[in-house]
Symmetry: C2
Subunit: 321 residues, 2 copies
DNA sequence: CTAGGTGCAAATAATTTGCAGAGGC
DNA sequence: GCCTCTGCAAATTATTTGCACCTAG
């Protein structure tokens, strides 16, 4: 896994010069969680030791934003705050107006909708800001609310990515199991059997990986959901499963192709948009699996279709003879 | 329809004192479209005549925000802008970083997801900010992009609300037509026939209303979509339609109840959250229609169910006798 | 040696505030 | 007359900049 300094080195712009003060500021900044104002950072620097000018702090913050080490966020307070992106995927915010704390989340469904809306308006989106202002549980009820532990964000993201993959896999397994049961055609049924087997194996692998992840980090499973999803992709198989009709292997293959394609596209595109992280890897590896299934289904569909056409031709020849 | 001054009077806070300067500022502000900075408003005031202090402008802007006449928006420029809410429903923004123009939109699907996410995190949302930063069509291709004409926003909102209602109505009509065809049971079939008839009538009414709206405002239909929706409610009937099985009236009624309830809830809740406007009325009136259908379906279901149970009881008695 | 990087103090920019006077009710 | 609103100028807050000096490559 990438260390904080590797993270910075990988982003250091060419042409610039090294400076111990800047390195020190960056180091202090990366050790913080949450959203710091420029002033917060000045205080931290002052406490840690050095007398570094306010202007340098501002200049270094700008430098980090340009380098992709920091993100500038705006909670409407009339000043900006900064959060680092080291082991911290991009996200949206819930902001409590009562205690001024903020909580992070992400939603693949919302991100898909945003892309569609931008496309409908012929707009090229570069970045989205989404903030829900209101009152947190703690301020409303007094009960301490689970603020997502900042140091766990990356692990929570990976956890949620795995949960999505597992849900999709389960849905796919169900689809292929049902397709196996329904399909009359031998060759078609064999394809579904094979895919059901693969989905089962892969599901077991994903579940093992999930088990390892949560075993290594106490309390990880209890952390609130970070990445929300409602079947942007995994709803596909459930819908496809309903459409399956008794017997028809070719129709079933077509439905399978549609489901796998949707799933592949979702995981590929969504995965690609993330910074290097376990969660990103989960999405991309999963996309690869779906891609293989998709290719297999397409090959089989073409084969079955060719055979069907040959038969029709033979029948026609016989009829006309 | 409410005039600008009625709009202001309805919101004027009690206890305050009237002032001609403030009235003048509010008047100038309400005549503007788009997002003004405090400075823009100062310039406007200066041009219109008066020498009013900058401080008074700021104080009046704050006063308008508190009264609900203005909304403060923050495009990350380091200063705030203000938009009035007279005939202007709340919305989200697409913001072009190249030409600094902004484009408005709303999405019922996103708003539903936001509510779900807030609920999952035990957070009481009060207000959401959603901004998509990027490049607009015009800046990218040179082709003039349709900026939604500000003076039409309310009409466009009404247009889109009607489109949603019409799409839902069509979907409902299809559902009941299919249910009429499939249902064996006479009484059940009659319910569906009646509802299909009502949906048909209501559909015609909505279409007429849509026709009037667009006839009164040239170019309204060509305006880009403001309110995006992908079947937060109207997908229900399509899904329900697929589930209908041959013959079973009670099952069909249950599916109908589920669809109407979903539809009713969506239009009711969504409509309630808007400021007084034609679009809001469309949603709420539509919700009332759905409510009536829902009640009818429930009554009929109970009747059919009671009858079925009586029959079972009679059969049992005969068997045991 | 030279292009950056830094400190300091001054500049900028948006917004707020203290206070004396004006004006509604 | 009282309490709110207004104007003006000064204050505040966040951030940027000019310029002389410093320092890594």
């Amino acid at each position: 896994m990438q260390s904080a300094s590797e993270f910075v080195e990988a982003r250091r712009p060419t042409g610039g010069r090294r400076s111990s003060k800047r390195d020190f500021i960056v180091d202090v900044f990366l050790r913080q969680e949450g959203h710091l104002s420029a002033d917060d950072l000045v205080d931290l620097i002052r406490h840690e030791d050095a007398r570094i000018s306010r202007a340098t702090i501002y200049r270094t913050l700008q430098w980090m934003v340009d380098a992709g080490i920091a993100r500038r966020v705006d909670f409407g307070e009339g000043r900006f705050r900064f959060e680092h992106s080291y082991r911290h995927p991009r996200h949206f915010h819930l902001i409590c107006k009562s205690c001024d704390r903020s909580f992070e989340f992400l939603s693949s469904d919302i991100e898909s909708l945003l892309e569609e809306i931008a496309a409908a308006r012929h707009f090229s989106p570069r970045q989205s800001v989404l903030q829900i202002y209101g009152t947190c549980e703690q301020c409303r009820t007094g009960r301490p609310s689970r603020a997502l532990d900042g140091s766990l964000t990356e692990a929570v993201f990976a956890r949620d990515a795995l949960r999505i993959a597992i849900a999709t896999e389960r849905s796919g397994l169900e689809f292929y199991t049902r397709a196996t049961r329904l399909t009359k055609d031998t060759r078609g049924r064999q394809v579904f059997e094979r895919l059901a087997g693969e989905e089962g194996e892969h599901l077991a692998k994903l579940e093992a990986r999930y088990g390892e992840l949560v075993a290594a980090r106490p309390g990880l499973e209890a952390e609130p959901t970070f990445l929300f999803f409602k079947g942007a992709a995994n709803g596909l198989f459930a819908a496809g499963s309903k459409e399956l009709r008794q017997g028809d292997g070719r129709a079933a293959l077509l439905i399978g192709i549609r489901c796998e394609r949707g799933s592949y596209k979702f995981f590929k595109r969504y995965g690609e948009r993330f910074e290097e992280s376990e969660g990103k890897r989960v999405f991309l590896e999963f996309a690869d699996e779906e891609r293989e299934h998709l290719d297999l289904l397409r090959r089989e569909y073409r084969a079955l279709d060719a055979r069907a056409r040959r038969r029709t031709a033979v029948r026609r020849r016989r009829t006309s003879a």
